[in-house]
Symmetry: C2
Amino acid sequence: MPKDTALLPTHVAAFANRRRDPGTKREAVLKTAAELFLEKSYGRTSMNDVAQRLSITKPALYHYFRNKEEILIECYRLGTGLIEEILNEIAEHCGTGLEKVEAFIYSYANVMTVNFGRCVMRLDDADLSPDALGEVRKYKRKIDRRLRSFIQEGIDDRTIAPCDPKIAAFSIAGALNWICHWYEPEGALSAEEIATQFARTLTRGLAAPRTSARPRVAGK
Amino acid sequence: MPKDTALLPTHVAAFANRRRDPGTKREAVLKTAAELFLEKSYGRTSMNDVAQRLSITKPALYHYFRNKEEILIECYRLGTGLIEEILNEIAEHCGTGLEKVEAFIYSYANVMTVNFGRCVMRLDDADLSPDALGEVRKYKRKIDRRLRSFIQEGIDDRTIAPCDPKIAAFSIAGALNWICHWYEPEGALSAEEIATQFARTLTRGLAAPRTSARPRVAGK
DNA sequence: TTGATATCTTACCCACGGGTAAATTCCAAC
DNA sequence: GTTGGAATTTACCCGTGGGTAAGATATCAA
């Protein structure tokens, strides 16, 4: 007889019956794990905690993941996947440097309100094995390079006031990454609001003086 | 016979001879603990690690601190103390709102390159007991309120362009707090450089349009 | 219906780390 | 010297958590 999965808290339903559907269950484990990692940190989250929230027992988890770290790595992978998407989208789409930066800020802020995205910047790198750590670090550098290049583009096409792209990128990335430290899904600010506001506010700080001098050779 | 403490790595010297004032030793423990907490995180730092770096044994530590958390709390206390100083200084000193914000950014960025200061924003709140956590949270809120009030002052006195102080404060705080995630004492950028650059860059993002309209009634 | 297999549980092992009890060493004052 | 007491150490306890072995049970294919 099929159990009553209707009003079961979120992904727990995936384990309601024993049906063979490893994909869905793996995903369910991943989602609850990410939740817990963000609530209590990776270190303070035990495999038992994860199992308990799914109403199963610890060893059952090891049918879907080889060990705890593999879960963590998968969280990172999904998170970086999200970022990768927006990065590529922007690189193709938009026009001026400033517009690209604005699009970046908007999309990135949004990602920082999605659990897997939050994992990438909020969880502690150092919990990863050397190999995985290496990959993540490499990826983060890539993000940084991209943002800097957008800014440089903006400086070149005169939509962004001359500045040190390195420092500017650090500032923007910091402001954005910090979102995942204070954002809470049930909080006062919605993801949309945050994204739009940040895009506006941060962009204004970069923009080259608008109205007065239109297209002119910018003296330093 | 007095031991050769001359070229001993940093604070280890404090424990070289046995009859030395407890104050110095407590301080030495605190410094090395903070170092380790920042290198490996609180959770991954064992009391043995701390002891080892000081060339003593674990139980010796318990002569100077009741338990591991007390060390952590003390780190937070010293860190918030540093921030408190600059907060008060600024509140008295400077003139316009924009100037206050700039001074805040400069000093705060500097604090984020000092170990105890870094602890406050980089270490994980959740490792604290409920009581201590409450205090720290309260203190962080205070910092946020102060920054917002500086920004509001700037908007009122027309040195800062109209904006949402809440979002602006989040951005600035994020950019600054993130420093302690990428700063490294031996890195390319010195604390001074970071502080000055950030003060300049972030301030420019806020400043009301300068030259053209001097003192005028600003329409909303 | 009936295996065969994926799924899940009970029971367990073991390393690690916080913390303590009690013995020991060193310094200082007498 | 000797001795009293503080500073340190050795040896230990025990809870927690990652991970596994082996048995129990449901599901699917035939």
